[in-house]
Every structure is written in structure tokens, then in C-alpha cells.
């Protein structure tokens, strides 16, 4: 049976992990490769690296990082952050990334999804969507949720699927950082109305939230950052609890 996936997300700046990552047993907590190895050993199913740097050397630094992660880690990983062209994607995949995730560039130029899918295949193109509710309606936002767009979540998600994306990573800006659970109602609607996998993001605080997002939210995978980085939740114990709740996981 296909397992539900648990995905830690690492924020990267200039080739280093940012935000206090609380791994005492780590030689270098800022080294993404070291962290990736640990998460892989603990049973993470996949990793996401989100590059938030804005330097001119960004492209090369990120490609180097991807190369070193691929060299050391035997589980799949996705790279996102500022990717906006076929060239960007080509470099990352050639260096060993399994998938790339695009966000703002897809909203600004939806044709980019078709172009990337035609060149590299659906299987490696993830479209990330950030949205929050305004007057009861889910509105797609840019720049980490700061800038609202004209687009509505469900229409945009369907368009993204139609244009050939292999997966959707949906982050609820209303839930992100609250540690109060995922946006399960919107997730369930996405999962039911679309026929591609949906990754839930934003709101993880307790183990129960993961159970809820797989059962109530019908998510195919769940992504989180701080609960894993600060060891509030261990991946192995989380998966054991999911299994007890009848959710298929890889243990």
C-alpha cells in the first residue's frame, strides 16, 4: 500500500540552514547535508530544501548544495525558492535534485508549468501554493503570504493540475506558525477535487495534527519544519503513532 509521507522542510540561506535548529548531537547544525542525513536515518520519507537567499551567487551555491545532498542521502528531495526558468530547473536536476518546487513564478507566468512539464516530465514539478482566507474565501498569496493575488485557491489548484504539475504543496498562511493543526477542510477539498497528490503544510504542532491531516484532510503527505528541527516531535515516534491510528506509513 502507498504510504503517507512525512517531509521535514529546511530553510536554506547562502548554502546554510537558517533558524535555530536544535540538534545538539550535530557537529554543525548549519550544514544542510548533515541535517539531511540525520532526518533520513530517522525515517523521513522525503526532504524539502527551501532557498531564501537573494545573492547573485545563489544559483551556483544552491546547485553545489544539491550536489552534496544527492551524494550523501538515499531518499528523494525537492528544491524550491526563486526558481523561475527552464535553466534554473535544469541545473538543479542535473546536480541530483529529484523534484523542484515553483511558486511565485508559476502565478506570474502559468505557462512556465507547461514548459517545465514538457521538458522534464510531471513527476519532478511541484507547484507550491500559499493561501489565506479573506472574507471566507481562500486567496492565493505571494512573497511568503504577504502579497494577495487575484487568484483563488481551488481554481488555481485545478489550473495547476491541468497544466501538468505532478504534485501540489499547499501552505495555509492562516495556520502556518500557529501549531494548531493543518487546514484540513481546504486540504480535503483539494484532495477530493484534484487527482494529483497533495502535500499539507502549515500548522503542525502535535502528533495528532498529522493523524488529522491524513484522515480529515485526506492529504497524501505532510510537511513541517520547526516541530522536527526543535525535536518537539521525533519522526519515528510520529510514524508509530500514525500506524497505531491505521495510517499506512513506512517504518
Amino acid at each position: 500500500m502507498l504510504a503517507k509521507r512525512i517531509i521535514p522542510c529546511l530553510d536554506i540561506k547562502d548554502g546554510r540552514t537558517v533558524k535555530g535548529v536544535n540538534f545538539v548531537d550535530l557537529r554543525d547544525a548549519g550544514d544542510p547535508v548533515e541535517l539531511a542525513k540525520i532526518y533520513s536515518k530517522e525515517g523521513a520519507d522525503e526532504l524539502v530544501f527551501l532557498d531564501i537567499s537573494a545573492t547573485e551567487q545563489k544559483r551556483k551555491t544552491l546547485a553545489d548544495l544539491v550536489y552534496h545532498v544527492a551524494e550523501n542521502v538515499n531518499i528523494p528531495f525537492t528544491v524550491g525558492g526563486g526558481i523561475s526558468s527552464i535553466e534554473d530547473v535544469d541545473i538543479l536536476l542535473k546536480n541530483g535534485a529529484d523534484k523542484v518546487s515553483i511558486n511565485s513564478s508559476a502565478v506570474k507566468n502559468p505557462q512556465l508549468i507547461n514548459d517545465l512539464v514538457a521538458k522534464f516530465g510531471s513527476q519532478c514539478i511541484v507547484v507550491a501554493i500559499d493561501a489565506k482566507q479573506i472574507d471566507g474565501e481562500w486567496v492565493v498569496h505571494l512573497v511568503g503570504g504577504k502579497v494577495p493575488t487575484e487568484r483563488k485557491l481551488f481554481e488555481w489548484a485545478k489550473e495547476v493540475e491541468k497544466r501538468g504539475a505532478g504534485e501540489i504543496l499547499f501552505t495555509s498562511m492562516d495556520h502556518d506558525g500557529t501549531k494548531d493543526g493543518f487546514a484540513n477542510e481546504a486540504l480535503a477539498k483539494l484532495s477530493t477535487e484534484l487527482n494529483i497528490p497533495i502535500i499539507a503544510s502549515g500548522g503542525a504542532g502535535r502528533k495528532k495534527h498529522f493523524t488529522d491531516t491524513f484522515i480529515k484532510g485526506k492529504a497524501d503527505a505532510a510537511l513541517a519544519a520547526s516541530v522536527f528541527h526543535f525535536k518537539e516531535i521525533g519522526i519515528k515516534e510520529l510514524k508509530e503513532e500514525l500506524k497505531e491510528n491505521g495510517i499506512p506509513v513506512r517504518l
Binding site: 502507498l2 520519507d45 529529484d98 513527476q123 505532478g166
Partner: protein
């Protein structure tokens, strides 16, 4: 031991190269037919769309070489699919090594299938030391139905071929190079054949 990964411009080859390196071997990328024919082990990778990958293969003449190889050959993901008789994707004629037609998943399941599924009914030396129901990583929209050459099964809406074998030719729908320790074991089994 000389390991050659067939380079025909289709797919993420770097990860396979790294996985082989982690096992203590070296692999070279090559599109040269002499070099491929003289290798001890040949790996035939591939991701992306079937008809354009097949076109690249034909363009390089490798479509004639691969079916004649005598050493162990491992096709991975799209590589495995191209070794079949045909693929529904882009209405593609394959290499015909495996006697099965690749078809698309029905829309009763989410397509593509992405993630970790279990392998069952293992019946080949490729899986020596691997127990039933281990998880392996796959990403695909098309599949090879069960057939006489099936050596491992996977279940996604229905049971299908997770791996195929005919004589010296092996194919895995999953990515051993991305399937954690289980995948490395399978890759190691292949390299030690």
C-alpha cells in the same frame, strides 16, 4: 568491475552514480556503443516522457545495441518501461525485451503515484536479503501489468509489476537509488551478479 550508465540525455543520472559510489563502486556515463558492450554491468536509467526518450535512444542508435547485450542490464523507471514492448505514453514502440505493454493508471487512483509503496511476491536474486513488504520509492503514471516476467509486485488500485526480469535483463519501476537502505541492497545485488 566496469559499470556503465547509459547516457542518452534522459533523466537524473547523478543520483544513480552517487548510489553506486556509496556502495564502493565507480560508474561511468557513456553513450558509446563499444564502451557499453564491453561493460560488466549496464544501467539504463530514464525519467520524463516515453516517446521523446525513445526518440533520443533511436537517434543515438542505442535502441539496436541494448537488446543484444549479454551482461546484466538494469533498467530503472522509464528505462524499464522502454525495455517493454510498447508504452501507451506518446504511443511509443519499445525495445521489446519484456513481453508486456505499458499502460496508464486509471483515474480511480491519484496520478502520478508518488511515494513509498511495498514490494511483494519477490522471486529473483535481485531481491536476495530483501524481505516481503519492504517499502521502495516510485514516481510514475504508467505501469507494466503483471506478466510472465514479473519478479516483484506492487499494489496501487491493482497489482502490477514493480520489477521484471528476462534472462540477463532486469527492470525496476521503482528507484533503487532513492529507496533508502532497501534500494541500496537491491542495487548491490545487481552489481554483484
Amino acid at each position: 568491475m566496469k559499470i556503465v550508465i547509459i547516457d542518452y540525455g534522459a533523466g537524473n543520472i547523478q543520483s544513480i552514480k552517487f548510489a553506486i559510489k556509496r556502495l564502493g563502486f565507480d560508474a561511468v556515463l557513456s553513450s558509446d556503443s563499444d564502451e557499453i558492450q564491453n561493460a560488466d554491468k549496464v544501467i539504463f536509467p530514464g525519467v520524463g516522457e516515453a516517446s521523446s526518450a525513445m526518440k533520443k535512444l533511436r537517434g543515438s542508435g542505442l535502441d539496436k545495441i541494448i537488446p543484444t547485450l549479454k551482461q546484466p542490464v538494469l533498467g530503472i523507471c522509464l528505462g524499464m518501461q522502454l525495455m517493454c514492448k510498447s508504452s501507451e505514453e506518446g504511443d511509443t514502440e519499445g525495445l521489446g525485451i519484456f513481453n508486456v505493454d505499458v499502460i496508464k493508471f486509471s483515474d480511480q487512483v491519484k496520478v502520478p503515484q508518488i511515494g513509498w509503496n511495498q514490494i511483494t511476491n519477490l522471486r529473483s536474486d535481485l531481491f536476495k536479503g530483501v524481505v516481503e513488504n519492504e517499502h521502495i520509492y516510485l514516481v510514475h503514471s504508467f505501469y507494466a501489468p503483471l506478466c510472465a516476467e514479473t519478479i516483484a509486485e506492487c499494489s496501487y488500485g491493482l497489482n502490477y509489476s514493480a520489477a521484471l526480469q528476462k534472462d540477463n535483463f532486469y527492470g525496476t519501476q521503482f528507484h533503487p537509488e532513492k529507496s533508502s537502505d532497501v534500494g541500496e541492497k537491491i542495487l548491490e545485488n545487481f552489481l554483484k551478479m
